[in-house]
């Protein structure tokens, strides 16, 4: 059997990802679902539960039970997995579930990275919520940070389903990379003509944690502050002096109210930097893979950001694999560092269609990055975005619910 065409269905979840890949052959359709979730701050007009129902309907051949050959959860962020919390999934039989190595319960490194990320996210969330309830600039920035951070809180029901749910018989769970068991290049189950190149994540704490020490430091600093408390005196009471006494003694040393307020600002940690650092760390556990269907290449980079992209691009073996991609799932919803510039300028080629799942969020003005949007839609390249439905060749919209892009081989 040969794959005759590839239909990639991008569901308009909002700020999140849900892609159903349908490989049509003479005898039927082979299906892969890549992520299903939406960000708390970026819902579209479609309810997530109706998206889930649509996916399940699309995965049902007439007269048969719903069936998806492979479910991929690129990483555990809510905007990629929250849709798996719905019970409808229990009717769907799934062949395999692919997840990053950080989800593997028997992988010590992976587990420790995941637990550390989860612990940090929860602690920070608790602390920032407290800050956010106050008034003033610090509270405002804490509130903005909370919206980013919430995406990192674990959706237990969704994760439980990915790890142990779906219809019987039980799906096989595979974790990547897993050097002792899983090669990085392998064939799709039941489709030997399709080769998978698993490029990421990498088993390197430094790449995942953060390539940016500043952000990481903010996390540490916030934790530090949570422990310290400022109630105890620094010196014996006799050493302090009231402002009026000081003004009388030496007016030169007095700081005005405005000057003192300015100094307090210096004491505020950058909540957004801390939240963003946690967000990025999980993004960099994303599965990044290329499907090669007899030379036609599709790239799904999850939410890989700067650090992981950098590591992938630094490996010269990957260059060949990434050259002349026909389909690109835009990384991290089109954010400024969710796509590596060199991939776009030197490797992806000109005959490429990019699918960007995205919803405008007013406070995140840099998403999508205008430069990226330009580069992905210039000359012979096509960009399909989930928030706009203009007529485009080979793209069929079902209302505003799903865009289907067809590649005929």
């Amino acid at each position: 059997m040969t794959v005759r065409r590839v239909r990639t269905r991008m569901y308009n979840v909002g700020f999140g990802d849900a892609f159903l890949l349908c490989l049509d052959q003479d005898g039927g359709t082979w299906r892969m679902l890549i992520d299903c979730g939406v960000h708390n701050s970026g819902h579209s007009t479609n309810q997530l539960s109706s998206v889930v129902n649509a996916i399940i309907a699309d995965a049902t051949d007439s007269g048969a039970a719903p069936r998806i050959d492979v479910v991929v959860a690129t990483h555990r962020h809510l905007d990629h997995v929250s849709g798996f919390e719905y019970v409808q999934w229990d009717t769907v039989s799934v062949g395999e579930v692919w997840m990053p190595f950080t989800e593997n319960p028997t992988d010590d490194l992976g587990r420790s990275i995941k637990e550390e990320q989860a612990r940090k996210a929860e602690r920070l969330h608790k602390h920032l919520k407290r800050l956010a309830a106050r008034r003033g600039a610090a509270a405002r920035s804490a509130r903005a940070a909370v919206t980013v951070l919430e995406n990192n809180l674990t959706n237990a029901a969704a994760m439980a389903r990915l790890h142990g749910g779906f219809a019987a018989p039980a799906a096989k769970r595979r974790y990547f990379p897993n050097p002792s068991i899983e090669p990085t290049t392998f064939q799709l189950p039941g489709l030997p003509e399709v080769t998978v190149h698993m490029l990421g994540p990498v088993r390197d704490r430094a790449v995942i944690a953060s390539m940016d020490p500043t952000g990481d430091h903010w996390v540490r600093q916030l934790e530090h502050q949570m422990q310290s408390g400022s109630s105890d005196d620094l010196f014996a009471g006799a050493f302090s002096i009231g402002p009026d006494a000081l003004r009388q003694l030496s007016p030169d040393l007095y700081l005005t109210q405005a000057e003192r307020a300015e100094l307090e600002v210096d004491n505020n940690v950058d909540a957004m930097a801390a939240a963003a650092s946690i967000e990025k760390a999980a993004n960099n556990t994303s599965l990044v893979f290329v499907l090669d269907i007899g030379g036609t290449k599709l790239l799904f980079p999850g939410d890989a950001q700067w650090g992981l992209w950098e590591a992938i691009m630094a490996d010269t073996k990957n260059e060949q694999i990434l050259t002349d991609t026909r389909l690109y799932k835009v990384g991290h919803h089109g954010s400024p560092n969710g796509t590596h510039k060199r991939y776009v300028t030197d490797l992806m080629g000109t005959n490429v269609t990019s699918l960007m799942s995205f919803h405008p969020v007013s406070q995140w003005k840099s998403i999508p990055s205008p430069n990226l949007v330009d580069a992905l839609s210039q000359t012979t390249r096509t960009l399909v975005r989930s928030d706009k439905q203009p007529p485009q060749a080979h793209v069929k919209w079902q209302g505003s619910l799903v865009a289907e892009y067809t590649l005929t081989l």
Partner: protein
């Protein structure tokens, strides 16, 4: 009435030798000698004003009175972690001492832009300290030692960064550099921020050698082996241990690696390579300097016997170490007048050091410059566009301009007036000082205008865009310095900084909102007759016929690339829309905070 008692020349102030940790471990307190000046409560002197307000607890701490007879009679308060007044005293002592040595090296008096520099010894809760160029304050943090890995301290013990000699000297150096070269805050290449860090570390390390009792003690302990004299060559031990790094924060001793520079971008790590280059040369020249003393002491064998060194020998080699540190500090500081106004690279710094030193000491008898250049080479630091590392090629080229720099006499007069105010006491006490500065302020615009006319008359010659109507040239700073040269004569260097802003290029590259500005900048060095000797320029020359074409490569393209890389790495960018995103990310506060996260 009996005649007035003359003012003392010096004031002695007790301080922790390095930090309270070393004091606990080794019993090392010391006495810092600073120029005497009457000080107000704070202490508030002519250059340093300590303001002890704690914004975390919203508390003022009572200011110390250094002129209190009880304080004077015991060389200042005994260092104590529990008494904030001794903290104030220590910050004042270290800062004032550093400034004195800085001025000596600079060859002219130093003033901050707006009166004395304000220092807050207890400004925030964090394992950090920084200079804030916007409010122009130096802020020191305090923090609890790590509870799991507290080093040689109590778990959770309070650690004060203002009690670390090194941290005080480092942060104050940032403030001084900001005054001398404000445009070095424009992070236009990776070396700029790294230079700030390296230079501040170097000043802190060399400042150790201004305390001869400590140098003698360490050299006796290590039998003259300076590179193993940890307290002298390490930076901020207590700070490092308390933050669970398990060692000093940084060290002047490195392992030269010619490839390290290319793969290092974090500014402290990159700066450490520059520190290693300069400090490595310092150690090598020290060893050359003491070789004869060791031979004399060992009947010519040069092999030291086992056991302790003779105290006289220790004293002599300590003198050499102190003199060598002074020589190196001087070389580093003097380089400032020969540095480009902006977009500095490590290679530029080397060229500035070599040129400044060679101007005064053409012979290099002690081979200091030769060792320095070799030390840079070993760490892969090469200046761009030089034919070889021979000294003649490294020095900035001599120029032969027909034009003379105008108004040189005014600049020379100002420096002479300042130098005549031989002690700080005179400088501060008199309303003279204010009067003098008022007169000078009235003179400044005229001088600036005539220099500007000269440059605007031949902009291309000075590395600028010819259309000076559209892109006016501003004269930023101009001054004269006096320095003794090889044959004992005082030599005057006249230095002028000129700048030209290029909003057209900024608009083209969509740099608005990044905080990065595009400037061409030139340092002009002239002699006492106004003859222009060097034109050290950072042009934006893209025209093939431009005389400075190729100097520093295509700077504009480099700036655009830097912004692109910074954006790619900036993890908050997706979520915020803050102004000045690049410069904000590079600000001193973040840099210093960044270090703490990146240290492990």
């Amino acid at each position: 009435m009996a005649p007035e008692i003359t003012m003392p020349a010096r004031r002695s102030l007790r301080a922790y030798a390095y930090d309270p940790l070393r004091a606990d471990l080794e019993g090392t307190t010391t006495t810092v000698s600073v120029p005497y000046e009457p000080v107000g409560l704070g202490p508030a002197g002519s250059l340093i004003k300590v303001v002890d307000y704690d914004p975390v607890r919203e508390v003022w701490y009572a200011p110390v009175d250094l002129d209190d007879p009880l304080v004077l009679a015991q060389d200042g308060l005994m260092p104590s972690e529990a008494d904030p007044r001794s903290h104030q005293q220590m910050v004042y002592a270290v800062a004032t001492s550093l400034l004195e040595h800085f001025e000596a090296a600079l060859g002219r008096r130093f003033r901050f832009t707006r009166g004395p520099m304000e220092i807050l010894p207890h400004a925030f809760y964090e394992d950090n300290a920084y200079y804030d160029p916007e409010s122009r304050r130096v802020l020191f943090g305090y923090f609890r030692a790590d509870r799991k890995h507290p080093g040689a301290m109590l778990p959770g013990q309070m650690v004060f960064t203002c009690l670390s000699h090194d941290v005080v000297a480092h942060e104050l150096t940032h403030a001084i550099v900001d005054r001398l070269r404000p445009h070095l805050n424009d992070e236009t290449n990776l070396d700029v921020a790294a230079f700030h860090e390296a230079f501040a570390d170097l000043m802190a390390l060399f400042h150790h050698f201004t305390l001869p009792d400590l140098v003698r003690r360490e050299l006796a302990r290590t039998r003259g082996d300076l590179s193993t004299a940890a307290p002298l060559v390490e930076f901020a031990r207590q700070f490092g241990e308390a933050s669970a790094i398990g060692s000093a924060l940084r060290s002047g001793i490195d392992r030269p690696d010619p490839d390290a520079l290319a793969r290092t971008s974090e500014c402290h790590d990159r700066g450490a390579i520059l520190v290693g280059a300069v400090f490595g040369a310092f150690i090598t020249t020290y060893e050359i300097r003491i070789a004869d003393l060791i031979r004399i002491a060992t009947s010519g064998t040069g092999e030291l016997p086992r056991g302790h060194l003779h105290p006289d020998l220790v004293a002599r080699i300590a003198d050499e170490a102190v003199a060598n540190a002074k020589r190196f500090m001087t070389i580093c500081v003097r380089a400032f007048d020969y540095m480009p106004v902006l977009d500095l690279t490590f290679g530029d710094f080397l060229r500035a050091m070599v040129t400044a030193d060679r101007t005064l000491f053409p012979d290099d008898k002690a081979r200091v410059r030769a060792v320095l250049v070799e030390s840079f080479r070993q760490r892969g630091i090469y200046p761009e566009n030089v034919a070889s590392l021979a000294e003649g090629n490294l020095t900035w080229p001599q120029v032969d301009h027909r034009e003379r720099l105008p108004q040189v006499d005014a600049m020379i007069r100002w420096t002479a007036e300042d130098s005549d105010l031989s002690t700080r006491a005179n400088r501060l006490t008199s309303r003279q000082n204010d009067r003098l500065l008022a007169i000078r302020r009235a003179e400044l615009p005229r001088v600036a205008r005539s220099i500007q006319r000269l440059i605007s008359g031949a902009p291309v010659k000075f590395g600028f865009h010819p259309n000076t109507r559209r892109f006016p040239i501003s004269i930023q700073r101009f001054h004269a310095s006096f320095r003794p040269n090889q044959d004992g004569q005082s030599r005057a260097d006249i230095v002028v900084d000129a700048l030209q802003k290029r909003p057209d290029l900024m608009a083209r590259a969509e740099l608005d909102g990044t905080g990065i500005e595009v400037w061409a900048g030139t340092t002009i060095v002239a002699d006492a007759l106004g003859r222009i000797r060097h034109v050290i320029t950072k042009p934006l020359a893209r025209d093939a016929n431009h005389p400075f074409r190729g100097v520093g490569g295509d700077r504009f393209a480099n700036i655009c690339e830097l912004v692109e890389t910074a954006d790619a790495m900036d993890l908050t960018r997706a979520w915020t829309n803050a102004p000045d995103r690049i410069t904000r990310a590079y600000s001193f506060a973040v840099l210093h905070r960044g270090r703490r996260g990146g240290a492990r």
